[in-house]
């Protein structure tokens, strides 16, 4: 059992995250808690940890969708724009429907976000399938189109969302005050659902087959159009859900939300071991990839590096992480092959 866990592809990434966490804990130093006066580690405290997970959660949710698209051999550059359009649409709908209706507002908001995400994903999927243009081009186009729709319809204002949404997104769930675990739990739930979809369902297996070899999939009687459309729909749904979380958590939505997120999202999937040529990837790893990227950003703050270097450091870290992952995959393959050779 232990060996099985150690051999799983997520272990390497999880170890890197834990290792980086340990290093941060060691070098972070302490501060005195204002209330109790106890010394508290600057990194290893519940507030910072949950804050880091919260930062990761919004694009980790999208990274799960993106990793499914990438496994199918596609790419979705429009997720940041779907996020913005979903958030803005929800905020406008709720503003126009009058005041805060509590649970009704929450459900309506969720429905609008997820619905907009679904429609945008469906649009991407249909365009990819019926225009037969590479998804990079299609989603590059819809990235600007959807952002533009969000811009025009919101008139570039930042729109407040009803308080009850924020109350839910910032619920402490019995943890101490100023601890907000809801986004983190959503991220975990989405990653688990994504993992189950990919590893346990017929559709998930078809996504791997299509990404690995579309021709052989066609010769095996798979419905390729349906597979392709559904991966973009899933990606859109994830973006819509992330937008609901984000807009609720921060209390407002604007057309400039999540600008550039598509690249963080793709980076998360790739750091999580997804292959851009299709056929490889994991939902849990994509989430861990998102956490790792946020943790690297966090470490710049914790270790008091010059924040101006953030982009340079994150860029280097992404390349290093992918190279390390490839190296360890090769080592692993060689080890397995040696073991197989000994048996025979």
């Amino acid at each position: 059992m232990l060996r099985k866990i150690l051999a799983s592809p997520q272990t390497g990434l999880a170890l890197i995250i834990v290792g980086l966490g340990a290093v941060l804990t060691f070098f972070a130093g302490t501060h005195d808690d204002r209330l109790t006066g106890e010394a508290v580690n600057n990194f290893l405290n519940s507030h910072t940890l949950i804050q880091t997970a919260t930062d990761a959660s919004f694009f980790a949710v999208m990274a799960v969708g993106a990793t499914i698209v990438i496994i199918s051999g596609g790419i979705d550059l429009s997720v940041g724009s779907i996020y913005a359009l979903s958030g803005v649409t929800m905020a406008m709908v709720l503003r126009n429907s009058g005041g805060d209706a509590g649970a009704g507002s929450i459900l309506a908001g969720l429905a609008v976000c997820v619905g907009v995400g679904f429609l945008c994903g469906l649009l991407n999927g249909l365009l990819v399938v019926f225009l037969r243009v590479h998804p990079f081009i299609i989603t590059l186009g819809t990235m600007w189109i959807l952002r533009g729709i969000a811009f025009v319809s919101s008139k570039a204002e930042s729109i407040l969302v009803p308080q009850s949404l924020t109350t839910v997104a910032k619920a402490s769930l019995g943890l101490g005050a100023s601890l907000y675990p809801v986004p983190m739990l959503t991220m975990l739930a989405v990653a688990i659902v994504g993992a189950v979809y990919l590893t346990r369902t017929v559709m998930g297996r078809h996504v791997f087959a299509f990404g690995g070899n579309p021709e052989a999939s066609r010769f095996s009687g798979l419905r390729l159009d349906r597979i392709q459309i559904s991966v973009y729909v899933i990606s859109g749904l994830c973006a819509g859900l992330a937008a609901f979380m984000g807009a609720s958590f921060y209390g407002s939505a604007s057309c400039a939300d999540a600008t550039g997120y598509e690249l963080y999202v793709i980076a998360s999937a790739v750091v999580g071991g997804a292959s851009l040529s299709g056929g490889k990837g994991s939902a849990i790893s994509a989430m861990l990839g998102a956490v790792l990227i946020v943790l690297i950003r966090q470490s710049i703050r914790t270790l008091r590096f010059d924040q101006n270097y953030e982009w340079i450091i994150v860029g280097c870290a992404i390349i290093i992480a992918v190279v390390l992952d490839q190296g360890s995959a090769q080592l692993n393959a060689r080890r397995l092959a040696r073991a197989a050779g000994k048996e025979s």
Binding site: V202, A209, R218, S220, G221, A339, S344
Partner: protein, 499 residues
């Protein structure tokens, strides 16, 4: 026995890949100016030996002597400098570039910074002239048929001054006519004193072409002997390490009269036209024809892969609409395609997932795959077909050609296909697996399946088929019964010569 010098001598050559001992202490010599066959089952190490010679791999132990001089190559370039060239199994070209550009790619003639196109074309023409090939040097390589691409590769080796050329299964994807031209070229090279090493497991070629033969098995040297002192059964036995049933004389089958598939006037623009035939349960209907005659295109149209196909298809007496592979599957058809790596398998997926790919829906409840049932189904077919894999989770890419082909067969057996279309089911498959696949085809027919068998290997068609249809240039050129079919007669029909 050998006249004159040895062109090559392998001395205790070993090479290990992760998990596989590909070569173990292999020693033998190759006479200068001879055509030397290197044969063995897939995985016996013959391609590895060729690659070591061509500088693609380095040996872990032992060495090679070229004309008496011990050498060690770090790259194909160093090997070529010593006069050793290679013609690969899977041709490696920049398909988007011209013949001339490919031929000169290693050393593009340049004036200062710019490519000297005229000099490049002239040099390429010289190289092609050295093997008397009339290929246009300005043609894009990707647009040439496979046989001509191979000629370009041979020209590259000969033109660079190679005295030893390694041919790695060169005819595995050539048509009969193209293969004949290759044999003639190798004969001419021999007359000019070029030594050829011919990696193959096709017996007819070895006896047609080669002077001596070396057999490898499981990475070890089994024997090196003159071809004149060898016979087919003996070689096969050395290759697989045991005797197999004789290859001829298929048991006679009583062909049932139940009609499985009736095709009337099937046409597809630019591919084939007016194809009509009947396939009955319990029979193996052969489909012969030259490469490019439209055999695979017909097979794919029958499996719903050709949206432009027109004509009438009846399955078990009912007229059906075949527009997608899904419809074809629902009607009990299965297609083992021509190119198993491109069309048959998802190489990155496990052996097990590949074999269950067409039937996952059947193995699932509310879209969740029932893993235990999947595992049991795959295991039963792996056992029945004797798929040799490290385990059900082994990647399909890591299996030998024969085992990969069995996986593709397993897919359609798992799907319970009653009408099986087999397109080159034994291409690139080793002797042992080939015999197993032949036995399976016969058993399936006996058990009532209807089988349409496409093959470029006439002996295979003659052995397995109850009747043979011949396609030429997209049309049916004739039908030959098993009793009256001969290789020569089929070839004439395929090529359109008078009988």
């Amino acid at each position: 026995m050998r006249n004159g010098v040895d062109a090559l001598r392998f001395v205790g050559v070993s090479r290990t890949f992760p998990g596989v001992r590909a070569l173990h202490d292999v020693s033998f010599a190759i006479a200068s100016g001879s055509v030397h066959a290197l044969c063995g089952e897939n995985g016996a190490g013959k391609s590895t030996l060729g690659k070591i010679l061509a500088g693609i791999h380095a040996p872990d132990a032992g060495h090679i002597e070229v004309f008496g001089e011990a050498v060690r190559f770090g790259s194909p370039r160093e090997a070529l400098a010593r006069g050793i060239g290679m013609v690969h199994q899977e041709l490696s070209f920049c398909e988007n570039l011209s013949v001339a550009e490919n031929l000169c790619l290693g050393a593009l003639p340049a004036r200062r910074f710019f490519v000297d196109r005229a000099a490049m074309r002239a040099r390429a023409r010289d190289m092609l002239a050295s093997i008397e090939s009339p290929i246009d040097v300005e043609a894009t390589v990707g647009a040439l048929p496979l046989g001509q691409r191979q000629m370009v590769q041979i020209a590259a080796a000969v033109g660079a001054g190679a005295r030893v050329i390694v041919f790695d299964e060169p005819t595995s994807s050539l048509s009969q006519g193209e293969a004949e031209r290759l044999y003639l070229l190798i004969d001419r090279l021999r007359e000019r004193g070029v030594t050829s090493i011919y990696v193959s497991h096709r017996m007819d070629e070895i006896f047609r072409l080669c002077d001596a033969v070396t057999v490898l098995r499981d990475g070890r040297h089994v024997a090196t002997q003159a071809v004149s002192a060898s016979d087919e059964a003996g070689l096969v036995q050395m290759m697989i390490g045991r005797a197999i049933e004789t290859m001829d004389a298929a048991p006679h089958r009583a062909s049932s009269t139940d009609e499985a598939l009736r095709v009337s006037g099937l046409s597809s623009p630019g591919k084939f036209s007016d194809i009509s035939f009947v396939l009955r349960r319990g029979e193996v209907l052969g489909l012969a024809g030259l490469v490019g005659a439209g055999r695979s295109e017909i097979a794919q149209a029958l499996f719903g892969l050709d949206p432009l196909a027109m004509g009438e298809i009846q399955v078990a007496g009912r007229r059906v609409d075949l527009r997608t592979p899904r419809q074809a599957m629902a009607l009990g058809l299965g297609l083992v395609p021509e190119d198993r790596k491109r069309q048959g398998l998802v190489l990155d997926m496990s052996a097990e997932s590949n074999s269950t790919l067409p039937v996952l829906e059947r193995l699932s409840r509310a879209t969740f795959i029932r893993r235990d049932e999947e595992r049991a189904l795959a295991a039963s077919f792996f056992e029945r077909l004797r798929v040799r894999a490290p385990g059900p989770d082994a990647r399909a890419a890591g299996l030998s050609g024969g085992n990969q082909q069995k996986l593709v067969l397993a897919k359609w057996l798992a799907a319970e296909a009653k009408i099986l279309i087999l397109d080159e089911p034994t291409r690139g498959v080793d002797v042992g697996a080939k015999a197993e696949i032949h036995a399976l085809v016969e058993k399936l027919a006996r058990d009532g399946s209807a089988i349409l068998l496409i093959s470029s290997e006439l002996p295979e068609l003659l052995r397995l088929s109850t009747r043979i249809l011949v396609v030429r240039a997209g049309r049916l050129a004739g039908e030959v019964s098993r009793e009256s079919a001969t290789q020569d007669g089929l070839l004439r029909l395929m090529a359109g010569l008078a009988a």
